[in-house]
């Protein structure tokens, strides 16, 4: 390293000596000790730097600046929200809550839609299909049960779904599922009970009845542990409610 290179480095050496331990200056400092000309230059350079440092420290700081800074800091502290109350986190939390709410209520919403569609399906079948007579030999016991004036249907029915289908009970298809139909009469009125297994989006169908009306037909859809039922008649909701 020649003296010009040493000078280049030593110009960055702070006059207070705080850089004494800095490895980048060691070789140049040693060279300044060994070389009198470089040493004299360095001494003068440091004197210049000390003079400038002294002048810089003599720059008066405006009165009131400190107070203004502290006041600004307090204001910002007041306006600074904790992280979880900042708008973006609040928005995220709201979104998460919405998603959780949807996740929880989605099966129920889906089931409600399925209940309505099942009721409509049952009413359409009753209104528009001319014959409902395809009842097999195994239907007698169930038909007698639902025709019993004392029998309440709302708690569900003792149905062996597979046996009824095997015995020739009228079987329809709703949304890819088999639906059995049982026809009966009460107090002079004709009624139809449609039964399907409680699977898929039908799992969340409520136990209490959901009533609907369409073109003179009324339906009530409800469920028990194993099946979903749609009771359809033409005498209005009150007549259905009396059977449930």
């Amino acid at each position: 390293m020649d003296n010009e290179e040493a000078k280049f480095i030593l110009r960055a050496y702070r006059p207070s000596g705080v850089d004494a331990g800095e490895a980048a200056f060691c070789a140049s400092l040693e060279q300044a000790k060994r070389d009198p000309a470089l040493g004299a230059w360095f001494e003068r350079e440091q004197a210049h730097d000390r003079a400038m440092t002294e002048k810089m420290r003599g720059v008066a700081v405006p009165a009131g600046l400190r107070d203004a800074i502290l006041a600004g800091g307090k204001m910002s502290a007041r306006s600074t929200r904790v992280w979880w109350s900042q708008p973006r986190w609040m928005a995220l939390a709201a979104s998460v809550m919405l998603l959780i709410g949807l996740a929880v209520s989605w099966p129920r919403l889906a089931a409600t839609r399925a209940e309505k569609r099942f009721g409509e399906f049952a009413m359409n079948d009753m209104l528009h299909v001319p014959s409902h007579a395809a009842h097999g030999p195994g239907m007698g016991q169930l038909a007698a049960l639902v025709s019993d004036p004392q029998r309440k249907l709302g708690g569900g029915l003792p149905i062996d779904f597979e046996a009824l289908r095997a015995n020739g009970c009228r079987t329809l298809s709703f949304a890819g599922r088999d639906v059995l139909e049982v026809c009966f009469t009460r107090d002079g009125g004709d009624y139809h009970v449609y039964v399907m297994k409680k699977t898929g989006d039908m799992r969340a169908v409520r136990e209490g009845p959901l009533f609907a009306r369409e073109d003179g037909a009324t339906s009530a859809v409800w469920s028990d542990d194993a099946h979903v039922y749609a009771l359809v008649g033409s005498r209005g909701a009150e007549s259905l409610r009396a059977l449930l």
Binding site: H48, M52, R57, V59, L65, R66, A77
Partner: protein, 185 residues
């Protein structure tokens, strides 16, 4: 950060930050604004800085960024390009001459130095930061800091020399004496 920590931080650094700001800004008012803005940014964002030892560099860096943000970038580039090589030559000015000058004159000379040199030079004279830390604050290589200090000091001494000359009333140049010629006869 608790209030007491903020107050200690302000007390420790606000004079040096203000002086750095004053060397960059056009006026005292602008320097005050820059200093205040720096601590405001600290109060709103700097609390996330867990390493208290880095607070000093963070504050100087933030002040410099705030300064750059408030002005056109093109000005800075022009300043870099207008530095004459001749200014690298060190002017001969005695340290005592600097000490004899008033603060306003010295600061005025410093403000007259090209900004590219002024920022590292001021940080160097404030003695708060090493050349490596100055490099971090200004986001330039350490070698560039050394180069700018070297050239900046030369330019500053040239300005101080000029200021000293003006203060002293200028150098009196003796008008050359001419011998009277003999008459033409």
């Amino acid at each position: 950060m608790a209030d007491v920590d903020f107050i200690q931080l302000v007390d420790r650094f606000y004079p040096a930050l203000y002086r750095f700001a004053l060397s960059l800004a056009r006026s005292e008012a602008d320097a005050c604004d820059l200093t205040q803005q720096t601590f405001y940014v600290w109060a709103t964002k700097g609390q996330a800085l867990r390493d208290a030892a880095r607070a000093k560099s963070w504050l100087f860096t933030t002040l410099y960024r705030e300064f750059l943000r408030g002005r056109r970038r093109g000005e800075r580039m022009t300043a870099l390009d207008t530095v004459a090589e001749s200014e690298v030559e060190q002017a001969s000015l005695a340290p005592e001459a600097v000490l004899s000058m008033d603060v306003e004159t010295v600061v005025a000379a410093l403000k007259d130095v090209d900004e590219a040199f002024r920022a590292p030079l001021t940080l160097f004279y404030l003695e708060e930061l090493s050349y490596q830390e100055i490099a971090d604050v200004l986001e330039i290589p350490a070698g560039t800091v050394m180069s700018r200090l070297s050239r900046g000091k030369a330019q500053l001494r040239a300005k101080l020399t000029a200021a000293k000359t003006n203060t002293d009333g200028g150098t009196i140049v003796k008008f050359p004496e001419f011998k009277e010629k003999a008459g033409h006869g």
